[in-house]
Symmetry: C2
Subunit: 182 residues, 2 copies
DNA sequence: GTCTATATGCAGATAGAC
DNA sequence: GTCTATCTGCATATAGAC
């Protein structure tokens, strides 16, 4: 079966190898030759299939946050729960780091905007209403983004030391933005 | 005068050209040859003087925030004023962006930690007291870092639209962390 | 001492052989 | 569909001109 089959499997092998290496080492520190090696093919073939290293990067560095566990959360505890979900969703860290560090390239920056909008702004925006809902959602997304930045880009060890306390207290800040006390 | 003089001027010309180009285009997108060209010398000379492109980058990407205008600020308006100062200090944007994007290199990441600590955490920490002062300062620094991240790395145009309102409202969040209401 | 010319080695990408 | 050979441009190292 599948006289035309093997190309598809090879393409997927390249994609999977690239995803793993990009998440692990980022864009700049991952040579195309290493991706090819991990996939068991020639480096030229990687370019053949995906056009360029940047295309392959964009093909693999996607992120969709699962909203569902957040929909049932009562509004009074939404801020904290959102921080908790973002910090414990597996894929976020690697994708976020790779996109932030690669954002000197304009297309990677564009992807970062999309991911930020979809993963942080949108879930917050969905729970807000009122005239300034959009601004509040964007400020809350900025605050959450700042937590990821401090923990993962800067690597603030003292901030990471007590994760439960961090979730509780930083969550309370986000909560203030989502549903300010009267 | 100065039989040994011209080398000093050349070195400074290279340093100045490098600073301008790194701030403008970042680390990855600035070839050593461009720096040399802008300084009017050969590329090999740049390496001669500074050892490597990375050394030169670290030599130029420093940042010291001027604390003084913050020392007199009453504690009730400190959060807002701090946001205002950070957003309007000229050098911060370029240095911050270049360091964040270059942070895949371990020495650049280390410099980012230093700058984050010195420019964001320390001024906040200086105004706080109490058992949890350090954690509160780090959370406030994360929040401010998130603002820079959203505005400059992500490029959230909607957030940037009304700067005065942003300063007032995001400043209020930082204020909550600096001096929480009783 | 200060600088240039040139060489080395690695990266992404292309042409075309098999 | 896959690989070999090769091009171009990069950071960096060395030799030696002035």
């Amino acid at each position: 079966m599948s006289e035309r089959g093997s190309g598809v499997a090879t393409r997927e092998a390249i994609r999977a190898a690239a995803e793993r290496l990009f998440l692990d080492r980022g864009y700049a520190r991952t040579p195309v030759r290493d991706i090819a090696g991990a996939a068991g093919v020639n480096a030229a073939l990687v370019i053949r299939y995906f056009g360029s290293k940047e295309e392959l990067f964009l093909e693999t560095m996607r992120l969709t946050i699962d909203d569902e566990p957040l929909l049932d959360v009562p509004i009074e505890s939404f801020g904290r729960r959102f921080v908790e979900v973002v910090l414990s969703t597996d894929d976020i860290r690697g994708v976020y780091l790779a996109l932030v560090r690669g954002s000197g390239e304009s297309r990677i920056a564009e992807r970062l905007r999309e991911v930020h909008e979809q993963a942080l702004v949108a879930p917050l925006r969905a729970r807000l209403s009122g005239a300034d809902a959009d601004l509040r959602a964007r400020m809350a997304a900025a605050a959450v983004g700042g937590l990821l930045y401090s923990l993962w880009v800067v690597g603030d060890e003292d901030l990471a030391a007590d994760r439960d306390e961090l979730v509780a207290r930083y969550g309370a800040i986000v909560q203030q933005l989502v549903a300010p006390l009267p």
